[in-house]
């Protein structure tokens, strides 16, 4: 029988080991990404999978996020007689926070889970071993294109999210609640600065790395059988989402 202290120590060691392995995995992905040849077609295919195929869900969630922001923002601002600032509130919320975070969470749910499951199935059916046996580096073949695609696709999806969200806020604020269109956009134009957009862009860039890194890592080190794939997919989604939110806090405190 082991003492509780021993059990805690074992868990802590396993966690540290896991974090170390994840860091080495990311380092290795970066190393292989810098070495030629980079197969462009493979990266484009992943941009299509992570980016293009996520557009519909991004459009839908962005529209409703913007509409809810418009509604809540309007009722809150009305208490202070500041309804004119609705455009500013919607735009800053989306560009600084909600756009990057929500887009990353949507990519995690749609593409990240699929990536973890696909690589996990490749692991348990010896397809990754087959790559290694053929002297094809699985890191370069499976992980690098996905990480590069994430870095490109997530900021683009975030930009779409921001624009559609602002339009959602416009629909509610201007078309439904009667704020003038000029006020909505002119206040927004006065308040939103380039640093806000840059900050949001940097966030989405880092989220793109986090999501693809965690999901490919979890798939790559999948355990045995179908249960292993289920576990790694769940862990990939949970860990990516948590890391996105935690990292968002640190980025916000540094950037704004």
């Amino acid at each position: 029988m082991t003492s509780p202290l021993e059990a805690v120590g074992r868990v802590a060691l396993a966690q540290v080991q896991g974090m170390g392995r994840m860091t080495i995995f990311l380092g290795s992905a970066c190393f292989w990404a810098c070495l030629p040849p980079l197969k462009l077609r493979r990266i484009v295919r992943q941009i299509h999978f992570i980016g293009v195929k996520s557009v519909s869900v991004i459009l839908l969630t962005a529209l409703f996020t913007g509409m809810v922001l418009g509604l809540q923002g309007y009722y809150t601002l009305r208490k202070f007689g500041s309804e004119a600032l609705l455009g500013t509130a919607v735009a800053l919320s989306l560009i600084r926070e909600l756009g990057p975070v929500m887009a990353a969470l949507m990519v995690t749910a749609r593409a990240g889970s699929a990536t973890a499951a696909e690589i996990g199935i490749m692991r348990i059916t010896e397809q990754i071993d087959a790559l290694t046996a053929m002297a094809v580096n699985p890191m370069k073949y499976l992980v690098v294109p996905r990480v590069i695609a994430g870095v490109i696709a997530v900021p683009l999806l975030t930009a779409i999210f921001d624009v559609v969200g602002i339009y959602g806020g416009y629909l509610v604020g201007v078309k439904l609640l009667g704020i003038s269109s000029g006020t909505y956009f002119s206040e927004m134009r006065n308040a939103v600065e380039m640093s806000d957009i840059n900050g949001g862009f940097l966030k989405s860039l880092s989220f793109g790395i986090i999501v693809t890194w965690v999901c490919t890592y979890k798939g790559y080190y999948t355990g045995h059988g179908a249960e292993g794939v289920v576990k790694s997919t769940t862990e990939a989604v949970v860990l990516s989402s948590v890391l996105v939110l935690v990292w968002d806090y640190f980025m916000t405190s540094l950037l704004f």
């Binding site: 199935i121 046996a133 002297a135």
Partner: protein, 256 residues
Amino acid sequence: MIEFVNLHKSFGQQRVLNGINLTIPQGEITAIIGQSGSGKSVLIKHLVALIRPDSGQVLVDGAELGQLHGKALDLVREKFGVLFQGGALFDSMTLFDNVAFPLREKTRLAEAEIATRAIQRLEAVGLADMGHKYPAELSGGMKKRAALARALVQDPAIILFDEPTTGLDPILLNSIHRLILDAHKRFGFTAVVVSHEIPEIFDIAQTVALLHDGVIVECGSPEVIMTSANPVVRQFITGGGHGPIRPGPGSRSSSP
């Protein structure tokens, strides 16, 4: 020539290989037989460094795999073709693309030449008109044949067959064995076949090695194995319930 010298491998507390000494003759078909879970697959995975030994040496044409990394290891791996237990075909690709994959990744051949060679290999295994199908659309026997076509496509000097007939009916089993024999005559590679198909494997192998308790118990021609007086060999080839081998995967001898 392939040589295992005093090879040891354990997974945690479980000792799988306990001092393997075996020489695999060049240009011949060598069968490694043994109970399920006795470590046959673990042994051949050492040949492409999918598994690294705890101690001992794996020599391929004089090169010690334990000392090789990066490109030097890739050069050795390129001598091999591997047919994995489940086929390990890439399920996102058609059969044709699966067979063409090693050529696309590892050579600079023109696409027309790649297509010609892939079709030739598919023809050699009787799947000429199945190139457009995905692995999920094929039967178990077809998958094994397609995996054989992929293993053959780069004309490797050595092909590893990891239980190529497991789960197949007797007719299909014989057809796969015939296919291995025909391909061996035609392409002249060194073959290492892991199997527990007794006595069928004796029809194709020139050398047979019995792995039991983590060591090679006996190695010789099929005639030598069939007439061996060693009680472990006798029990294994007759399939008797009484003797030094206890039933069950990875079991150990009842006698010292």
